[in-house]
């Protein structure tokens, strides 16, 4: 591929591990160019050893987040023209996560905290087989899950406009990009803090009346490193690329856990 370099700008990319440094590259300027386009250009035309992570390129998968001119951003939906301060772009790995190489960070800790915050849906017991096939004369939406034996578990009907459903809706569209985690001061200061994304996820499940693990979930998020470590700086809300407000979710968890504690539902 022949690239015209008549109109170019300088981009600095982090190279190496935590002890690495920024390297500068001259890249062509294009209309509607995203930061991810720039990184991809460098990798494909200037230095094939550059490591970075992306998948969907349309803001759905949450894998391409990086630090762009000092702010954590989703690079596939960030136009260079929006962030180029004085025509220069500096791209580094996300903060608060160990650097694997170049622009790729190790997300293990981030997702481990999702699990520590009980971020997985737990169906009521006895657990029915997942998605039992409809039988003759029956559609998928029968409103009753058939168990494998005598313990059929009904599926709760959730009114779309119920307060709990609305609260879950407001937080449900997280794409796991870790931008909030990288932007959070408390994560930087307190390594045991679960972080905004994990707590936001917990809040969606706390509001899911079909979930059967809320006592354990509330105990997990009410412990040291849980929601009470949050200082309400609201960096997560400020930086969230999809416009969520994890701070509000964490505030909801604080209220819910206090109520549980005062009722004796949470041992602390």
């Amino acid at each position: 591929m022949i690239v015209s370099m008549t109109d170019t700008f300088e981009v600095s990319l982090w190279r190496g591990n935590a002890a690495g440094r920024y390297h500068s590259y001259e890249v062509p300027r294009r209309d509607n160019q995203t930061v991810l386009d720039v990184v991809t250009f460098v990798q494909r035309h200037l230095d094939a050893t550059l490591s970075y992570r992306f998948a969907c390129r349309v803001g759905m998968c949450g894998s391409c987040a990086m630090t762009v001119n000092g702010r954590p951003r989703w690079t596939c939906r960030t136009h260079v023209s929006k962030v180029a301060a004085r025509g220069r772009v500096i791209i580094g790995p996300l903060a608060n996560l160990p650097i694997i190489k170049d622009l790729a960070v190790d997300m293990t800790e981030f997702f481990a905290k999702w699990q520590a915050g009980k971020g997985a849906f737990v169906p009521p017991s006895p657990t029915p087989p997942p998605f039992p096939p409809p039988q003759a004369g029956e559609g998928w939406g029968g409103g009753r899950r058939r168990g494998s034996g005598s313990g059929a578990v009904p599926i709760a009907r959730i009114a779309p406009d119920s307060p709990a459903r609305r609260a879950a809706d407001a937080a449900i569209e997280c794409i796991n990009c870790a931008v909030c985690y990288a932007a959070c001061d408390t994560v930087r200061w307190n390594p045991s803090y679960l972080g905004p994304a994990a707590l936001n996820r917990a809040w969606t499940l706390v509001n899911d009346e079909r979930d059967a693990a809320n006592p354990q979930r509330l105990a997990a998020i009410a412990a040291d490193g849980g929601c009470y470590a949050c200082h309400t700086h609201q960096s997560c809300q400020e930086h969230c690329p999809v416009g969520l407000n994890p701070t509000a979710s964490i505030a909801g968890l604080k209220r819910r856990a206090v109520a549980g504690y005062l009722k004796g539902e949470i041992a602390a």
């Binding site: 408390t186 009470y228 206090v258 602390a268």
Partner: protein, 109 residues
């Protein structure tokens, strides 16, 4: 911070706020009226009300402050978590002793 510490910190804050306002109001009153130390002691010594007021104030502060101090130590130092707990508890005890001693000097006859 866990939910137990959070509840204690909020409850003690709710106690401290009105007591602190009264305390500051008393300071303004004493200075604006030019009360001498002897005149102040004349009103506070032997007063059960002022004794209970400041005993409650000191107790609330002695619980509230160490909880916050513990968080500061956890976030701003590399100290072991148990060391942070111990330091915060020791500081709370120090606050309680110093505060109760000061309150006793003001209210005991």
């Amino acid at each position: 911070m866990n939910v137990r510490l959070y509840v204690w910190q909020r409850l003690t804050a709710a106690v401290i706020v009105p007591l602190a306002l009264v305390h500051i109001g008393v300071i303004f009153y004493a200075t604006r009226h030019g009360l001498s130390a002897a005149e102040i002691f004349g009103r506070t010594r032997g007063s059960i009300a002022w004794g209970m007021f400041y005993a409650l104030f000191v107790a609330a502060v002695s619980i509230h402050v160490p909880i916050g101090l513990r968080t500061v130590l956890i976030e701003w130092t590399a100290l072991d978590r148990h060391y942070c707990d111990g330091t915060a508890i020791a500081f709370g005890i120090l606050l309680a002793l110093a505060g109760l001693r000061a309150a006793a000097a003001v209210v005991l006859p």
